[in-house]
Symmetry: C2
Subunit: 281 residues, 2 copies
Amino acid sequence: MRDLKGRFDLLSINTATFGYQTELDKTVDLLASHNIGGIAPWRREVEAFGVDKAARLIRDAGLEVTGYCRSSYFPAATKEERLAAVQDNIKALEDAATLGADCFVAVVGSITHENPSLEDVRQQTLESLIQLAGRARELQVPIALEPLHPMYVGDRSCLSSLSQAIEWCDIIDAEHPGSVGIAADVYHLWWDPDLDKQLTQAGSRLLAYHVSDWLVPTEDLLTDRGMMGDGVIQLPTIRNSVERAGYNGLIEVEIFSSKNWWKKSPAETLRTCMERFQTHV
Amino acid sequence: MRDLKGRFDLLSINTATFGYQTELDKTVDLLASHNIGGIAPWRREVEAFGVDKAARLIRDAGLEVTGYCRSSYFPAATKEERLAAVQDNIKALEDAATLGADCFVAVVGSITHENPSLEDVRQQTLESLIQLAGRARELQVPIALEPLHPMYVGDRSCLSSLSQAIEWCDIIDAEHPGSVGIAADVYHLWWDPDLDKQLTQAGSRLLAYHVSDWLVPTEDLLTDRGMMGDGVIQLPTIRNSVERAGYNGLIEVEIFSSKNWWKKSPAETLRTCMERFQTHV
């Protein structure tokens, strides 16, 4: 397993971790001034800043884009709306290419009032992803399927486990080789009794590795993630599995924390990320 | 699939649904006066009332005990404490036998500050269950392993999926045939992409079937379950799988709802359960 002491070149910060307090140029400056290796920006801030300008800024700062966040949801009530969702994601995928991103992160959406069948929504989502994958292959920016925690099946993601993501990769890849992989986030996957086995199976499909921690108690389903070391996930055990599976990319910190970290300054949050990255990841 | 119209003989009420507002005799009276088929009482109320007296009361009311709730947690820091946990559960299992319960529901516990390794805790829990299963076989009261939703892995259950429960059943049953089965609760399992397949695989191991609903948004991880029909779970689809798998027992309503149903009278909650049982389960 890699020794992370002083290896900030292997650290990437997902900008959500700072709670969207500052504009992209300030965030890039902060990361570059600490010799951080990577950044995972969100569409809202990249689009607000201008994609070409953002791409230059990040490249000039020497930051790797470990992922572009993220797809809009694929499920919709009508065929036309589903096609529009794919088109919107093609636009984002093109921006990911402009940014030179390692992957385009797909958080796929789930059942809705109009579309209440989980089975149907899963099938439709897979079909939309196959459509998107053709363009991903042309652009050489793979889609990173991110399975979300099962507690998000009601509203955010019908893709709910690593084994399901592997299955979808196999299907999509058969049509568009090299177009797809997986973003493995400990927060979503840590509970799985078969995690080690599935990470091994995922192998070279692992395009990104996200860390945070699970707090006990967790007081909000969405925005109560913990800083690494403040929760109960055995992060080194999981990283060991991830690296044995062949992953040797950057490690991205992604913390949604409305009550704690989003209230602190980005500089303070980054300082803590850097400490914990060396000791608790 | 069974037609539930007017079939209150197939309805069982887990007393937690009433928010522990009334004593056991009042709850039993209420259920019996509506010709409800079953009850699933909790240790706290049975022990407060007296086990023998409770058993007579429930039997005289003609109610089936669809499950006795529930095991205390098995994981503990030392071997002595783990043994004490098994002893405590043996006592509850004996009470389940006195009650004539169909099964003794096991919610197994999870990692703690002293025992942070999920892998170790899973192994220890399985060993404790094997110890308990010997007594379950003697008493002819099977242990119903209840896999909880993955969002409870941090504090309540290291048993997190139906496939894991099936695996544990196979191991325990090899030592103590007929000692163990599964309590399948839609709230914990509905998200699983392989649910239908796994229910089929569980087959005769299904000892209990619990219903409620998943609310969007869910505002509390523990006590924000919905009444059937108020959430997003496709209950008839899942019941169809459960019954095709061979389950023909009662259907137990178990709703933890501190903000809504626990504030209503048991009579009102029961009335709604009876309506929704016929139309949304």
